[in-house]
């Protein structure tokens, strides 16, 4: 039986993309799998009794070493902010390519804590900073120093000791360009080194909290229980900075979503599902309920989504518990068709993610196809005809063409880059100034504009001729030829409409990172948790691959 890939017109809608969940394809899980055989070491731990100072952690294999260099600093409570406008953080980090010399550490000590206004070199690969969850961190220090373990209920409400507020890579602030490392065997998936940084930061937070507690009361203090550590992740606050990324990297977006779609198609095409495969799937579904019930958020928007997800997952468990027989042919296809008819988008994508759990042989090869050689597709095939261009638009953007951009509500917002922080922002076109400096992120509107121009163009046959008199449409012509080859490269929605939820764009990206527990703080930023339940570095040699569904906090 042949199953068709799902229609991009459905899957690439923002509401659907904003319902995606982590899966085996997610970058933090594929990072752990890739680096599980590497030697982990804490090379330097030079903190004072309050936990301030430097530390270095590394992964090494053969002649390759990656070192996380950490700088923990004292800041005042009123200086602590997760917003991108902050200038000081509790800790700052960089992933150094190789073993840092003392000279490197001295140089980095001057630059890394400054973050965006510091300068890194080609020897550094990623850069980040993080703030304590003060309430949780202080509580844990207090309890450990008294010889007790912390209150699990408090920990479960937050899920981490620190949260990062940005993770930079790929040439930002002088960091190494991606081309310098992309051919390394271990970098065969996107954001590998960003994931490594976050993972090692997590370990630093445990070591720091133990260290501070010990110095507070050396005779009585105990270490944070390893099981508790394992059930803590690292938080992350994410704002709009992430949203334009998925618009600006269409072939990369395609490769992420296409991998997910191919995995689902192949699973639906499995004729006979083995018992151990169905058992694992059912086990993960049932155990994952903890992830939903421990998903805390003050966001009404997300609370409704979680409520519906929980209701639908229970309905689904009921469906597979009672009359369902995995020995029937194509049982995963039956499950998928049932989901489409019976449950919400959030639940469909939740179960799709879990369907991948038993099938390493399907997901592993796909992980290596999730990067993109973007430059290969940059050149516009300008010798092609305008008729071809028009046909592609009609075929690939049929829903977009139905949007009426003469209506004010459909062009309500505009994307811009703030002068203060050089970060993307979204504002009301009719109430704020600056729309004349709009970024080219209104793809739907510009596609429609191109299409209307094509309908009114006569006596011109090639794209080259068209571009010579319509240079303002060049960026969008390029995209149309990209979407011709890459069906999932375009968000099939209006990114400047009145009702846009930018957090849907953030959530799409974060789900591929492997984030859990999306906690929107507004429609423009959210908090998440990464690596919660993940093995600790000294457990990597032999760990439970389904750790995501085995958390107990």
């Amino acid at each position: 039986m042949k199953v068709q890939l799902r229609d991009p017109n459905t899957i690439m809608k923002l509401s659907r993309l904003g319902s995606f969940h982590q899966s085996k394809l997610s970058f933090l899980r594929s990072f752990l799998n890739e680096f599980k055989d590497w030697e982990y070491k804490r090379d330097l731990f030079n903190l004072d009794k309050f936990g301030y100072g430097e530390a270095v952690y590394s992964f090494r294999k053969d002649k390759r070493t990656y070192s996380l260099v950490c700088f923990a600093n004292e800041i005042k409570d009123n200086e602590r902010s997760d917003r991108v406008i902050a200038t000081k953080w509790d800790a700052a980090f960089t992933l150094h390519d190789g073993v840092p010399t003392q000279k490197d550490i001295d140089r980095l000590k001057n630059e890394v804590p400054k973050q965006e206004v510091g300068r890194l070199s080609f020897k550094e690969l990623t850069l980040s900073r993080a703030n304590k969850s003060v309430r949780v961190f202080n509580h844990v220090v207090e309890k450990l120093s008294e010889g007790k373990q912390p209150d699990l209920e408090l920990l479960s409400k937050v899920g981490y000791l620190y949260r990062t507020t940005a993770v930079y890579g790929s040439g930002k602030f002088g960091l190494a360009d991606r081309f310098r490392i992309k051919n390394r065997e271990e970098i065969n998936g996107p954001f590998r080194l960003e994931m490594m940084l976050v993972y090692l930061v997590r370990q630093f937070t445990f070591d720091q909290v133990n260290h501070v507690a010990h110095h507070k009361n050396p005779s009585k203090a105990v270490k944070l229980d390893k099981k508790i550590c394992k059930n803590l992740g690292i938080g992350n606050s994410t704002g709009l900075g992430m949203a334009p990324f998925i618009v600006n990297h269409p072939t990369l977006l395609n490769n992420w979503v296409l991998s997910r779609e191919i995995a689902l198609k192949k699973i639906r095409e499995i004729k006979t599902v083995k018992k151990k495969e169905s058992d694992l799937f059912v086990d993960c579904i049932k155990k994952s309920l903890t992830n939903i019930t421990s998903w805390n958020t003050d966001s009404e928007y997300q609370q409704i989504k979680i409520k519906n997800l929980l209701k639908d997952i229970k309905k689904f468990i009921n469906f597979i518990d009672k009359p369902f027989d995995f020995e029937d042919e194509y049982s995963f296809n039956k499950i998928y068709l049932w989901l489409e008819n019976e449950v919400c988008e959030e639940c469909i994508e939740y179960v799709v993610s879990i369907m991948m759990e038993p099938y390493n042989e399907i997901t592993t090869p796909l992980i290596t196809q999730m990067s993109s050689e973007e430059d290969k597709y940059f050149t516009i095939p300008s010798s092609r005809s305008l008729i071809e261009l028009r046909n592609i638009i009609e075929k690939k953007y049929s829903n977009i063409l139905k949007i009426n951009f003469d209506k004010k509500q459909n062009t309500q917002n505009f994307w811009f880059i703030s002068k203060n922080k050089e970060e993307p922002r979204l504002a009301d076109r009719f109430e704020e100034s600056g729309s004349e400096l709009e970024q080219p992120l209104a793809i739907a509107r510009d596609v429609k504009k191109l299409y209307e121009k094509l309908l009114n163009t006569t006596n011109i046959s090639t794209v080259a001729e068209f571009l010579s008199i319509n240079p303002e449409l060049r960026h969008i012509v390029r995209r149309v030829f990209i979407v011709e080859k890459f069906p999932y490269s375009e968000i099939q929605d209006n990114t400047i409409g009145k009702n846009i939820m930018p957090i849907d764009m953030l959530r799409l990206k974060l789900s591929f990172f492997g984030a859990l527990k999306f906690d929107p703080r507004s429609d423009k930023w959210l908090r998440i948790c990464m690596f919660q339940g993940a093995p600790l570095p000294d457990e990597l040699k032999n760990y439970d691959e389904q750790w995501v569904y085995r958390t107990s906090i």
């Binding site: 070199s121 080609f122 790929s170 040439g171 930002k172 602030f173 002088g174 960091l175 190494a176 360009d177 991606r178 081309f179 430059d375 940059f378 050149t379 516009i380 300008s382 010798s383 880059i417 080219p440 794209v463 080259a464 571009l467 010579s468 008199i469 240079p471 303002e472 449409l473 060049r474 960026h475 969008i476 012509v477 390029r478």
Partner: protein, 203 residues
């Protein structure tokens, strides 16, 4: 040191700021990145061109012919470069293309370098006694690397170099003969047993 990613992004944004469209600015960002990667002064010349652009007029040539001349004001190297990329399939039919009066020829070179990769042929460029070989966008070979690139070129000639060997048949034969000294002369026994395939394949 600035990363290539920073160079591309800043060149793109600056290009938009001086009036190029987003699509054109994307092309400029890519080309300046490429020049800098080859060790050529892309940022320096782009910066200088944008400052001159405020005071001077430049001719936007959108339809390129075999021979192109702009007696009054110099051609804008960027519009010329983008036009060259777009019309490449047609232009390739000319063996040589001539331009007179181009501003900042190094900026035009970056587009020609990309063109070389797209058509899979080397492109030879001559201007003002300078000679440059654009090698499939893998590298740029030039006799002017140490010199200052001019702000203006009076006459510029482009040759599409047909794909052919850079050496004579005799030189090849001589080298090939040497390489044969790594081969083993086959005896009858080796002919029968060493290849792996069957002796009769009539099945």
């Amino acid at each position: 040191m600035k990363s290539l990613s920073e160079i591309e992004t800043t060149a793109k944004r600056a290009s938009k700021a001086v009036g190029f469209s987003w699509g054109e600015s994307e092309e400029i960002g890519k080309c300046i990145r490429q020049l800098e990667m080859f060790g050529l002064p892309g940022i320096k010349h782009l910066n200088s061109y944008f400052h001159d652009k405020i005071k001077n007029n430049y001719e936007n040539l959108s339809l390129i012919n075999q021979s192109n001349s702009s007696p009054s004001s110099p051609y804008c190297p960027i519009i010329l470069g983008i036009g060259f990329l777009d019309q490449l399939k047609t232009l390739e039919n000319y063996k040589k293309i001539y331009f007179s009066n181009i501003a900042y020829p190094i900026l035009f070179l970056s587009f020609l370098s990309r063109s070389s990769e797209i058509i899979g042929k080397k492109i030879n460029v001559k201007f003002d006694k300078k000679e440059i070989l654009l090698n499939l966008n893998v590298n740029i070979y030039s006799n002017v690397l140490e010199l200052e690139f001019p702000k203006n070129s009076k006459n510029l000639e482009i040759n599409f170099v047909e794909n052919k060997d850079n050496f004579s048949d005799e030189e090849w034969r001589s080298l090939y003969k040497l390489s044969e000294n790594t081969f083993v002369e086959e005896t009858d026994s080796l002919k029968k047993g060493a290849a792996g395939a069957g002796l009769t394949d009539n099945d």
